[in-house]
Symmetry: C2
């Protein structure tokens, strides 16, 4: 096995001590401990698991500034943003704790016995949930806290009663180890078995986790290529397991003529903000914008984007992929670089903007719909909103789609667009922007492939927990006859 | 393409006219019509889809005797049983209609906006469901109505707003065509687009369905081999789709010492009834029985089974597979044939019974846990209930597990067994039998692989409908501002 080096995004140089990757024997030992811890964890009363989640949240809250500083050294995401992300992470851990305390999500349902109902009988059925077992979690590089080691996948799997094994993200290996230690210390300190949360390192270890017979589910946030490879391992096992991958999305935006006319400059400014949030490294970034051809809007957008300060991408590798991706799209015939992409010698990039015609989009949609992780978007100049329907037919599954329209005059058009977009996206935003994903009870962050490998499920919001439990029905048992059994 | 022949289970001869298998072009045409019908069907108000389901149920109720007679000629399942199965099928269609009319399952959920909630924001989110699109359904040979053409998978997919394409079962091709015509006529007669329900014929056509880009989900009841092959096609598509396969299960039974002592003869009689119900051709058949070694119980069970009249299996192929399967298990060293399996020259079989020791089961569990579709079971003679825990550790995922115990003395033992079995089965029956699966709102018919390829989902009961819808969240929309949009 090799070693994992932490590369500074500021210098491109190795920093900190190298970390050994997990060997096959390491993975075996970690999975064995996880499986051993799993039986008791799954049977723990939910309020105890809530206490464990709160212990982890409290540990994160103890010194967010230091954690953010370490994360910044490995991701360049900025201390303020990272302190905010830690708050999002602890909010999320505590939301699942509240769900467990309220008993809402894992509530038992009962079909009482009905005598003589033809033709199929109707004994008493009590439906409850059991945890699936050990879960392999692959966090994201762009959200080292909220979608990382202790992010939504980990929080929801632990809440569900599953033990968790994270494959550390190679982009922030030292932060990953720090967070694993923090969680294990918090768990042990609160009287729990620290083996319910463990981690491994290295690509081979990650693949071995998903293939391991004792691992019962996988959860992933990241690239389409890596996510699909792991999904394929999960699906081709002798006993396949569910694999919840959030792989990527172009998150299309549709702007109506009336919206342009009423709020042209505001739309340009807001879109520039959304497009460059997190330096364009968000899975909810609005990557392709369909808008009636309007030079004043384009000018305003170019001005707004040009006013955004250049920023550091996550890593030299992120920068390389971004520059390659943008030049791939820019190289498609009929594409104009409204703001050419420029990478500074210090690994920073300034926002870029591409544009093409509606007709050219239809001809080359496959090449044009390549997600570029960074501050760039593609404007598709339409002749009018009548082009939108055909354009939607060319889109892949998306995490989120956006409509900008004017209540009143656009009533019918907006209704139509929201309806059509509901069939390709997991979330449809009206007169807002796709970035800034709320963590709420009924949020849905998923959608048709490649947005998600598991189209029915969400990775954000309370329902994310339901990915890691399955129903079981107990037939013919009443409390009278079998006190304490249910 | 070849032709599909209907083989009489009574004579082994071809009966009726041969039916042409669907060509690749046929499949293309059928899928194109299904996809075209899908948009309007998905958007229909649920009460209209309920009306369509009721129209199909009414058509089945118009002349069950004739349908049962045709089914009997192709399956030998007996007219009485088949008339009962039609009643189960119409009950099921109407249950989904009631769910749609009540609005319970597809209810919209709302997270109202919360101002200034740190750190993630909280706009108004309305969560609703959209249908996945065309669904490929593969019915079972042993339930030509309830798990067939117009069975639970079809009913739940249509209820969800998906169009359905069934791959006709080769065991009852004429019944399949009759049921397709019946449903299409009923749909058209009630004013619906008959293309929402279609069918194709032949293995190649079935595989092509699951691979087709326009098909959005698959549902299957049948053998592990065929189901896994289709699951693999669904999972390895460029855009993978959910595939809900119910593949098979040994449905273990555990009988306590106290239960034996209090109800020895009744248990033997009831087990013989459950084991031979539908001539042992049920996915819920109790195939392996763990019981403290007790000769009086064995004698009673042998007597009860020997009193069951021989019966016809579904087809010559079923008989061949059954005889092969039983001789495979009987050939494992240490297995005794308590009642040798005998196949009559007229393709009937009498119930059989195998037995082995607990120690031999542990050594050869893999070979012994081969599902044999027909009237046979395997008794595992245990020294006492203390053997049960280790035995459970050797079992695969099951649709249902059964515990026979005595309230009071067995309170703690039953609680323990139900808890352990909950982690390997989708349903656990106490002091009842696994056969006779109730169709109710919260029923769960699924379980860990190979019971199901999709461990979270059920193929029976109201929740089966939720396999064919996915959530979508509409953000930032209120009825005030956008009347009629939601």
């Amino acid at each position: 096995m090799g070693t994992l080096n932490s590369i500074s995004p500021f210098t491109g140089e190795t920093q900190f001590e190298p970390i050994a990757e997990s060997t096959a024997a390491d993975v075996e030992a970690v999975v064995a401990r996880s499986a051993a811890a799993s039986a008791a964890w799954a049977r723990l009363v939910p309020t105890e698991r809530a206490r464990a989640l709160r212990a982890i949240a409290d540990a994160l809250d103890a010194d967010p500034a230091s954690l953010a500083e370490l994360a910044h050294q490995e991701t360049a995401l900025g201390a303020d943003r990272l302190v905010g992300e830690i708050a999002r992470t602890t909010f999320q851990l505590r939301l699942f704790a509240e769900e467990l305390e309220s008993g809402r999500l894992l509530a038992t349902e009962v079909d009482e016995a009905l005598a003589g109902l033809p033709p199929v009988g109707h004994p008493r059925l009590v439906r409850k949930y059991v945890a699936l077992g050990p879960v392999a979690v692959f966090g994201a590089g762009n959200f080292p806290f909220a979608f990382g080691q202790l992010g939504g996948d980990t929080a929801s799997a632990l809440a569900a009663g599953c033990t968790v094994i994270v494959k550390d993200h190679p982009g922030h290996p030292h932060l990953a180890q720090t967070l694993t230690s923090l969680a294990q210390t918090a768990l042990a300190g609160a009287g729990f078995d620290a083996d319910v949360f463990q981690s491994v390192r290295g690509m081979a270890a990650g693949a071995a986790l998903v293939a391991h017979p004792a691992v019962q589910a996988g959860a992933f946030t990241g690239s389409q290529k890596a996510g699909r490879a792991l999904f394929d391992i999960a699906s081709s096992r002798p006993e396949p397991i569910p694999f919840y991958g959030e792989l990527g999305s172009m998150n299309p935006v549709f702007i109506t003529q009336a919206a342009l006319e009423s709020r042209r400059d505001e739309l340009a400014t807001e879109l520039a903000t959304s497009l460059t949030m997190g330096r364009g490294q968000l899975c909810t970034k609005p990557s392709v914008i369909f808008v009636p051809d309007d030079q004043a809007f384009i000018d305003a957008l170019v001005a707004a984007l040009s006013a955004v300060a250049p920023g550091q991408l996550l890593s030299p590798l992120s920068l390389e992929r971004y520059v390659q991706g943008v030049s791939g799209v820019a190289g498609v015939s009929g594409v104009t670089e409204l703001i050419p992409t420029s990478a500074g010698s210090d690994l920073t990039v300034a926002p870029g903007l591409l544009a093409t015609s509606y007709e050219n989009f239809l001809q080359n949609s496959e090449e044009l719909l390549e997600e570029c992780f960074g501050p760039v978007g593609l404007i598709v100049r339409c002749s009018s909103e009548t082009d939108f329907d055909t354009a939607i037919g060319h889109l892949e599954g998306a995490l989120v789609a956006t409509v900008q329209a004017v209540p009143g005059p656009d009533a019918e058009l907006a209704r139509h667009l929201v309806d059509e977009l509901s069939f390709i996206a997991g979330r449809v935003v009206v007169n807002g922007w796709p970035t800034g994903l709320a963590v709420t009870p009924w949020q849905h962050h998923g959608g048709p492939y490649p947005a998600s490998t598991s189209v029915l499920h969400t990775s954000v919001g309370s329902q994310a927990m339901m990915r890691f439990v399955r129903p079981v029905v107990i037939q013919n048992v009443s409390d009278d006859q079998w006190p304490g059994l249910l």
